[in-house]
Symmetry: C2
Subunit: 634 residues, 2 copies
């Protein structure tokens, strides 16, 4: 099993993520705390605790937003100690503890509204989902502060849930998966294996109904098609992977591999958004990826990041990090404004100008999900394995090899994400400091200085992203073989000395991307990418309209750095075509002329910051015309 690096051991110092984490800490978290107060989300607990008068307010799953916010704050405290915030969290946790019932049950909705009906509506009422988010919050709080205040609440609740469900006393599964992955975390943090077994039990119970909506239509080991509510699906697959990487359960691994293939080959937006339909907040049919009506909930993209990360830990292959990076840089961060206080719940890939970020939502799952993801990004930059070789990691479709069985091999350090940062990782008992200097994602040049406490041999594996066709690597000026290995990494296995410097150059051209021809919405269209970033045309840069624009196949596009635009972005500029303005009302008319126009594309994540206006990711493309004389024109 690959080992992640604790989030406290990585410090982002870059211009891309570090400011976002700072905004998350200083704007988003206070904003969300206020919203949780203003909307009664915290008062619900106070009433349940007998500390306030009133009635339950809001939606029956509102507790979960508070739990997720606590988790976010705790993760943030781990990175950035803040005694005032720590104490504020203590006060909030005290309310939760007071609201906990004598038997360990904690759910303000059921306690206040229908106490007699616990566990009677598992498919709909999110009771176990809410518990799961409490467990995740408790683990984060414990790991960040060492305090057991919330962890005690969580374990009492988990013990109670185990007493209700365990040993088939009550057979049922939650309509919204979450508790499963949370129980694995709780087991890991407490060493209590009963929680892990309960997670397995919940996973194994699925398939008892015909409800595709919550992935309860088939035994998880029989599932091959990604169906239903997208966030639920992602959280289920996370838990399956959590269990599989610990048990090497071949049935689970096979299902995970099939589901991964189904998702990434047939059901994922180019932004890493997943779940095209508002109808079920989820999946439809293969290749159904409409742009204007894309649902692509922010939480679902976050769920994909979480699942991708676990698939990487399970298989040690870069293809999972490729997807993680795709979602992270595009469909996830589009979900929050640069100012940190406005959110997309839905992330369409085209807009007529009517879709805008909102300060909060009645169903407010997305903002705290963003909040709790940001502090975890540093921890996804690296992973280690205690020993391995080029041949050892499993391929995703084969039975797993037992990594770590060959002790003699050097330890492995995976470098997954690139960003200016400082980190310390433990390799073969030696602390290794790693300093990344880079302007990634704007530049593909990355300098990594390796400073082991003492000389140590290990296999430094540098991820060559799927979008990169040409890469070179030097160590202390010496050109090395930068061939991407079968697992997607360049392997630099050597004895590392303090101050050794790796220079990785990833070629980072502007790329035109086509979708699979079965994706009807994208036929004849291209998306522009540079590095991990998906670009879009937005009206603000393009004379007020972009839905009438097209790109010639061979039109040159050039990157331009704009430090003062949208927090600092590289825009792509070139010549496009614009359908001649034609105000006639006719439904059918002669084909209008196309006129030359300047085209400017910005990173997708940064759209909707400059007032209402059209936006498109997939741009009609005008291909070169091979004419009758056999020459290529255009």
């Amino acid at each position: 099993m690959l080992k992640p690096v604790p989030l406290t051991d990585v410090k982002l110092t870059d211009d891309f993520w570090a400011p976002r984490l700072e905004t998350n800490r200083t704007v988003t978290i206070p904003h969300a705390f206020k919203e949780c107060e203003d909307t009664g989300r915290i008062r619900n607990f106070e009433i349940a605790a007998g500390q306030a008068e009133g009635e339950f307010e809001g939606i029956y799953f509102n507790d979960s937003d508070v739990h997720k916010m606590i988790e976010a704050i705790a993760l943030d405290l781990a990175l950035h100690p803040d005694p005032a915030l720590d104490q504020r969290l203590d006060r909030l946790i005290a309310i939760l503890a007071a609201a906990q019932q004598p038997d360990g049950y904690l759910n303000s909705y059921y306690t206040l509204v229908e106490p007699e009906n616990r566990w009677t509506d598992l498919p709909v009422k999110h009771e176990l989902y809410i518990a799961g988010h409490l467990f995740e919050a408790a683990v984060a709080h414990y790991q960040a502060t060492g305090k057991r205040s919330l962890l005690g609440v969580a374990t009492r609740f988990a013990d109670y849930i185990d007493s209700v469900f365990g040993d088939d006393r009550l057979v049922g599964v939650c309509g919204h998966e979450e508790i499963e992955l949370a129980l694995v975390k709780l087991a890991e943090a407490t060493g209590e294996q009963r929680y892990f077994r309960l997670a397995q039990w919940f996973i194994d119970r699925r398939g008892s109904s015909d409800r595709e909506y919550c992935q309860d239509h088939l035994s998880v080991r029989e599932q091959s098609e990604v169906v239903g509510h997208a966030v639920r699906a992602m959280y289920l697959y996370c838990a399956m992977a959590d269990i599989a990487m610990r048990t090497r359960d071949e049935g689970l691994i096979g299902a995970l591999n099939r589901l991964w293939e189904d998702l990434t080959l047939r059901r994922m937006y180019v932004t890493g958004g997943v779940g095209p339909s508002a109808h079920n907040e989820g999946f439809t049919t293969a290749y159904d990826l409409p742009n204007d009506t894309a649902y692509a909930e922010t939480c679902a993209a976050i769920g994909l990041v979480l699942w991708s990360w676990r698939m990487f830990l399970l298989h040690g292959r870069s293809e999972y990090v490729d997807v993680l990076e795709r979602a992270l840089y595009n469909g996830v961060i589009s979900g929050v404004s640069l100012t940190g206080d406005r959110f997309f719940y839905v992330n369409p890939l085209a807009s007529r100008g009517q879709h805008h970020r909102q300060p909060w939502f009645g169903c407010a799952c997305c903002p705290p999900n963003i909040m709790r993801l940001f502090p975890q990004i540093g921890a996804m930059m690296y992973a280690t394995a205690v020993g391995g070789s080029r041949a050892a990691p499993t391929t995703s479709n084969d039975a797993p090899a037992v990594v770590g069985a060959e002790r003699a091999l050097p330890a492995v350090l995976y470098v997954n994400l690139y960003a200016a940062s400082e980190a310390t990782v433990q390799l073969s008992g030696t602390a290794v400091r790693l300093t990344q200097s880079t302007h990634y994602p704007w530049s593909g040049e990355v300098k990594i200085t390796v400073r082991p406490a003492s000389e140590v041999e290990f296999d430094l594996r540098l991820r060559i992203p799927d979008w990169c066709e040409t890469a070179s690597a030097k160590v202390d000026g010496e050109e090395l073989d930068a061939e991407r290995g079968e697992d997607g990494y360049v392997s630099l296995c050597r004895t590392w000395r303090p101050g050794d410097t790796v220079t990785l150059k990833l070629d980072i051209p502007i790329r035109r991307i086509a979708a699979h021809p079965q994706v009807a919405a994208d036929v004849g269209r291209v998306a522009l990418m540079r590095g991990p970033l998906v670009y879009c045309l937005e009206a603000a840069d393009n004379e007020g309209s972009v839905r009438d624009m097209a790109l010639p196949r061979k039109a040159d596009l050039k990157p331009e750095w704009h430090p003062d635009l949208l927090g600092g972005v590289i825009v792509l500029r070139g010549k496009g075509l614009r359908r001649a303005q034609d105000d006639r009302p006719d439904l059918y008319r002669p084909v209008p002329d196309d006129l030359k126009t300047d085209a400017t594309a910005i990173p997708y994540y940064a759209w909707d910051h400059r007032g209402p206006g059209e936006m498109v990711v997939w741009i009609p493309e005008i291909t070169a015309l091979a004419d009758d004389r056999g020459t290529e024109e255009g």
Copy 2:
């Protein structure tokens, strides 16, 4: 009011329609008669008449299919006497007469299944709709044969309905409009004005609920937006126009004009299909015209023909016949196979090869609707007005002028549709024989020989279709001004002598059509038309696949006559591009090359005759590229 020409006074002799009418008579009608027998549709009446044992079989509105078949047979008998068929119809009518209840009620479902519940579920159960189709059948039968057998059944039923609803005794409207237009026909055929008043009453009662689905959400005079079930909408507008042309009711005319504009500028497929959604068999939002999932029910296109015809009679303008012709040559006749025994209920504008005509349907509205339309096509070629001038006809948005007030002006003969044919029309008391020689719709050249019984002055108005940019007209070799008048017609006002020959040349190029830019489904795509015909690419002519094809803007397309293909068609041939085959499964990949390919388009109506295969109407277009050097390439 413009006056139609009786269908018996026009005889089609052409290669396009005459064979279709013959197939309709010799294949479709017998096929449908057998289906009506085999599916219990006729036995239901026999059981209700006490002539057979058993229970009602099928859907509660199945009577209407029999009524529509009777109408079709009657119209056909008018054109083509057939004593055997006439007698068979007499026997069927005798069964209906026997099934009629003593009070005049006739509906086999209610009589057999829930006799106590008459008129209790008007929104859903189609009771008045079914009656309406009976009335239309009865009028057609009476006019074709002079027999009053079915007309008596109809008037007894209509009298009974009037006694139930008239003078607000029961206030309600049918969920599926039809009776309103049928009552106008019945009033016209019998001279009984009560029926006309009842039709007005049903029209005026609408708007009593919030049911957009059946256009009952607003008073008809307040309606501006085409909503709900498409066939219902078309039939309602037909009745509104029937009443408006007789009463010159300005409120109705205003509503009709607004609804017409909404339909034809925002909600109509290029094929004349209407109603994009399967969900409500009807309308959605403006410009929502998806191709693969287009519902575009055959009955709705027929309904549009019927409404267009009435709008023409109301306003005397060619724009209505333009739409009539568009629907007729494309979205209507696509509904029946060339063999006459297979039917589309749904007429998509793109297919992956899974959509095929069927022999019959459980809900079998479409086949008999086609059957009853074909015999009426000849009657839509001409219309007359007792007097008028260039200025006299109303424009569609102004208050109506009273046509016919200026007796001194010569009579007007409108020539709307072009097809080889013989006709006799009455103009100022003189019978005028008209012979059209043409290969329309394949050719735009039309020779019309005028043979009045004696010299007579009249204003011959030749419709210049909206698709024709250049036309010329000669009379006996003398070139005349062929300027399209404000009403869309070339006016040739003169004293006509026997043998005068008009030669009309309509320029008939291959046209590339764009959709309004708001039609998301058609952005970057073109449709090909030639004359009134919409073309499509079908796999059978294009190496087995067409969804990967594109057309360069300037690629030459040439018409080619293929007498043995699909009943004889002009195909369009040229060079297209085909996206290079790329079997990789990747969802996102580099843009593939485009390869030259031959492209062959066939008329849309003729698709799905050569086995399953892809089809597209809207083809991605590759526009000419204006490059940086300012030259046009491509």
